[in-house]
């Protein structure tokens, strides 16, 4: 024991405690008494490892006795398996085992992707490996396990399959017509439909001065995470435990699912989500091949790894957004919106994806269309149909990009019809900033939005008038530039109304545990996962602020069901608002508990003490009285020096569930400035702006990055990305060379600004920010293109707006 340690020990209750040696690592920077890190753009804690090649993604993990599984996938969109022979594959070098659907079904029960609150939604039983038939090109029908992935891939060629090709349905309208039925037991191809009509709708529409109508088409796209889907399942028969290393967004949801479908008690299943190489909603679903991988680990009683290759990613990662939307907007000749009439048809592949269902995206389109505006009349019809293409489900934005695009594009058409500036049209119709709380025509409740503040700030930021002047000047020179706006609302911080009420075992609550370690640092364990968006960094900032320590004195652990509190994970822009609030509550409670210990050590009343920068301080003067490492040392190692009846509690857990509103809506507005070449159909993005209100900004730099990244994904959808299928259900562009995602040289600089209206439903006041960019960008860019094309009398209505489609709209090439 060194001298200062001894000095402190002998007089732990002294008011004049001398701090002779201070551990430098926990020393805060000077002059930060009472500092809050909330609202500071500081570099992400815990992320430097990713820049040094020291991350650990699933494929980086190595376990003893590890084997690799690959899957034989159907080359047909719809075909029955007449025979499947694995014998030759089993003889190949390195092959450990091979299984068909029936083999795996003995260990993994099938599922049906329906939810109780989507009334009438139906789907068919889906198996980990399909035993009888394949319903899309890419569905797995057999598995080969080998010592190396290459050996397993080689052995696939030796599986003999005799297929009976069945009629397939790839067109949404044909599916609705049901001449060919994919699942005979369902009678037709309808997965889900919904109707909504406000009272007096027909009368209001009939009496309107003007009605504009358009049909918009949205191509399928997919997430293209740089890290493909990956899973390593490790079953231990001695303990009947399963540990799954999973590139996922929802570890507790997966724990429940592995438990129920593999027949292993929930608490015997541990899901660990280490570094994740992008998710965007792609990695929040149950994938048949991942369930099969876990089942095969149980069957073989050893660790098994599956990592999708890029082709598998394209044909099996969920797709999204195949919609055909007919929309009408009724309005007065003064430019006041009377109502919207929406008809959405969407094709989801052969199964509704488990457990979140594939009905949610269409449902969101119905919920959100017209969302920023104050009209009272709304009618909507939705049909969600099965097709023999890859399954679709929730991908970043979930319905928002469709709802925002159809709303904002038809609003522009209305403004054009009465020759009103689109800004003026929006200003007349956006819900007033003092009208909240507000119930929207579709039934959604908004706590507090700031459409007009956002619009004003946007116009200032982009210098709208100057841009219009420049546009007009250039038009005289034969340069076709366009300005497009898109106002939006976004679902964030979902309550149990999203999934729980429908029967899905997906936690609406999240939790945080914070522990003061003896050395004075904090361990923070949170049920929300890190996918690169910086959740661990913002939890660091919140915990440091709540307890009163330097950010360098905080370590965060996420993504481990064996360690963190129970919770929902990362989806629907909920990490900051829900997980962050749990961290704040835990941090405040721990601060109070630390002060209880300090009070008995220092013999000073608790009301006179505070914590700042890692010290117990005099609340009035800020004088440093005691290091937290002293509190920790005494509480853990020398509690004998504390009063007999005192017990310290330096680990605290708190949870949070949003209760007052179904969702905490955010709002914002985007603008796009483009130049269209009418000879080639090429679109050059000149600049993009977004003003967003996500309430309290915890780390503005990270929020801006979320918004920019989201906008670029939205731009991908409106300009480039489309999963193109042939009539017989073959994906025609399943490679990164053929499926175009945005690259740096095509992207504009993006200006992001904020209005901050903290939600009063939580103390932190944070709302979500992860999906707003993706929600608004497609509508803004399409409006900008159509604004550029307007003087040429052309209008493009199909996304992605490829050069070919723009030339078709201009009548320069045929087809469409």
């Amino acid at each position: 024991m060194n001298a200062p340690e001894h000095a402190r020990l002998i007089n732990p209750h002294s008011e004049h405690l001398e701090l002779l040696e201070v551990p430098s690592k926990t020393l805060p920077a000077e002059g930060k008494v009472g500092q809050s890190y909330i609202g500071q753009s500081i570099p992400r804690s815990g992320a430097k490892k990713l820049l040094e090649g020291r991350g650990s993604y699933v494929d980086d993990l190595r376990l003893p006795r590890l084997v690799h599984v690959v899957y034989l996938r159907s080359p047909h969109a719809h075909a029955a398996i007449k025979s499947l022979d694995l014998r030759d594959a089993l003889k190949q070098p390195g092959v450990v085992a091979a299984f068909n659907g029936d083999d795996v079904a003995k260990f993994c029960s099938p599922w049906v992707g329906v939810l109780g609150h989507l009334k009438g939604i139906r789907s068919a039983h889906q198996h980990a490996i399909s035993p009888e038939r394949a319903c899309w090109q890419g569905e797995a029908v057999a598995a080969v396990v080998a010592q190396t992935r290459r050996q397993a891939v080689d052995a696939l060629d030796f599986i003999q399959v005799e297929w009976e090709v069945l009629p397939c349905v790839t067109d949404m309208q044909s599916s609705l017509d049901a001449k060919t039925v994919i699942h005979p037991e369902l009678g037709d191809n309808l997965c889900f439909s919904r109707d909504l009509e406000t009272p007096e709708f027909a009368k209001a529409f009939a009496n309107a001065d003007c009605v504009v109508e358009r049909e918009y088409h949205f191509g399928r796209h997919t997430g293209v995470t740089n890290e493909p889907r990956s899973i390593l399942a490790d079953y231990n028969p001695a303990e009947h435990t399963l540990c799954v290393y999973h590139s996922t967004q929802a570890p507790h949801m997966m724990q429940d699912i592995f438990s129920r479908h593999l027949g292993i008690p929930e608490s015997n299943v541990r899901v660990i989500c280490k570094d994740v190489g992008g998710s965007f909603g792609i990695k929040v679903h149950v994938y048949a091949d991942e369930m099969a991988t876990a089942a095969i680990s149980v069957m073989l009683k050893r660790p098994v790894k599956f990592v999708a290759d890029r082709l598998e990613s394209f044909i099996t990662d969920i797709h999204a957004r195949e919609h055909k939307v007919r929309i009408k907007l009724a309005f007065t000749k003064q430019g006041d919106i009377i109502g919207f009439d929406l008809n959405d048809l969407t094709g989801i592949g052969p199964y509704s994806v488990y457990p979140r269902t594939s009905g949610i995206e269409g449902n969101q389109v119905v919920n959100l269309t017209g969302g920023p505006y104050k009209h009272q009349h709304y009618k909507a019809h939705l049909d969600v149909v099965f097709t023999n293409k890859n399954v679709t489900c929730q991908y970043r934005g979930v319905g928002h990009p469709i709802a925002v695009a159809v709303t904002e594009c038809i609003v522009d058409e209305a403004a054009r019809a009465i020759k009103m500036d689109p800004v003026e049209f929006r200003r007349r119709n956006l819900i007033a900033d003092d009208a909240y709380p507000y119930t929207f025509a579709s039934g959604l409740k908004f706590e507090k939005l700031s459409h007009h503040q956002c619009l004003d700030k946007l116009l200032d930021t982009m210098d709208y008038k100057a841009l219009r002047a420049e546009q007009a000047k250039l038009r005289g020179k034969g340069v076709y530039r366009g300005i497009g706006l898109a106002a939006m609302i976004e679902v964030t911080n979902p309550s149990p109304a999203f999934y729980g009420v429908g029967g899905a075992r997906i936690s609406a609550q999240d939790g945080a545990t914070i522990r003061l370690d003896p050395g004075g640092m904090l361990q923070v364990m949170v049920s929300v996962t890190e996918q690169g968006q910086g959740t661990e960094a913002i939890f660091t900032q919140i915990a440091a602020s709540a307890v009163g320590v330097d950010v360098g004195a905080v370590r965060v652990i996420t993504g481990d069901t064996g360690v963190t509190p129970y919770g929902g994970g990362t989806w629907a822009s909920r990490g900051a608002g829900i997980g962050g609030e749990a961290v704040l509550r835990a941090g405040k409670a721990l601060r109070s508990n630390i002060l209880d210990v300090a009070t008995v050590i220092l013999n000073i009343d608790k009301s006179l003490l505070d914590i700042s920068c890692g010290y117990i301080v005099d609340k009035l003067t800020g004088q440093e009285l005691l290091l937290l490492s002293e509190v920790g040392r005494i509480a853990y190692f020398r509690p004998d020096t504390l009063p007999m009846n005192f017990q310290s509690e330096l680990t605290v857990t708190r949870h949070y569930t949003p209760r007052e509103y179904g969702f905490t809506f955010t709002n914002g507005i985007q603008a796009s400035y483009v130049e269209v070449d009418p000879d080639t159909g090429f679109v050059k993005l000149l600049k993009h702006w977004c003003i967003e209100d996500c309430g309290t900004l915890i780390n503005p730099m990270l929020v801006d990055e979320q918004i920019r990244g989201g906008i670029v994904q939205g731009i991908g959808g409106v300009l480039f990305e489309e999963c193109i299928y042939s009539e017989d259900g073959q994906l025609m562009n399943g490679s990164l060379a053929d499926y175009l995602v945005p690259m740096a040289s095509e992207m504009p600089d993006i200006v992001v600004g904020h209005i901050s209206t903290p939600t009063k439903t939580s103390e932190l006041g944070a709302k979500g920010a992860g999906e707003a960019g993706t929600a608004g960008a497609p509508g803004a860019v399409m409006n900008a293109i159509n604004d550029a094309l307007a003087p040429l009398g052309a209008n493009v209505t199909i996304q992605p707006c490829t050069p070919q489609r723009i030339l078709q709209a201009l009548g320069k090439v045929s087809g469409g």
Partner: protein, 176 residues
């Protein structure tokens, strides 16, 4: 498929390595599976995404489009080795300061492209930086912060260059 293998001798991050490798094994797989250097990532395995980039004798290559046997007699440097050598430090700091990454899966490759830019294109402007990083997919950031980070390093580099003797400036051009 051929299981033929060859013995190769090479240096990996300055260490001498002798290995028996299948002739069809690509360099990124060799680095990941045989050397346990998992910093080079596999996003597509056909040269589109750029996450597997490494240096071979100082030249930037796609690890998935280079066979391991092609590295015979050469010096392969990965993000791990280049980090230890310190040549990426300024870029890594700039990436952290500008939040020029989210999930980090593209970062190893992106940093090696960025190193190429700071070594060979000292006067690149934003548009040129955007062009030069267009061989690397990033699905998270929207690229702007990556451009910001590289631009800041180039600016610092030019400033340092101006401050030092004119002699040093003449050495800036192309780094052989």
């Amino acid at each position: 498929m051929s299981d033929q293998s060859l013995e190769i001798s090479l240096r990996v991050n300055s260490q001498e390595v002798n290995a028996q490798v299948p002739v069809r094994m690509h360099l990124a797989e060799f680095l990941r599976e045989s050397m346990d250097l998992t910093g080079s990532h596999l996003g597509c395995e056909y040269g589109a995404c750029g996450a597997c980039q490494v240096h071979v004798d100082g030249l930037l290559v796609r690890g998935c489009l280079t066979l391991a046997v092609q590295a015979q007699g050469k010096h392969v440097e990965t993000v791990e080795g280049l980090t230890e050598k310190g040549v990426l430090r300024e870029l890594q700091n700039a990436f952290l300061q500008h939040n020029a990454f989210q999930c980090g899966f593209c970062s190893s490759g992106m940093l090696i492209t960025a190193l190429e830019i700071t070594n060979h294109y000292p006067n690149a402007d934003r548009e040129q930086i955007r062009d030069l990083i267009s061989g690397n997919y990033c699905r998270c950031t929207g690229y702007q912060s990556i451009v910001d980070a590289i631009e800041s390093v180039l600016k610092d580099q030019r400033l340092r260059n101006q401050l030092s003797a004119p002699k040093a400036q003449s050495e800036m051009g192309v780094d052989k």
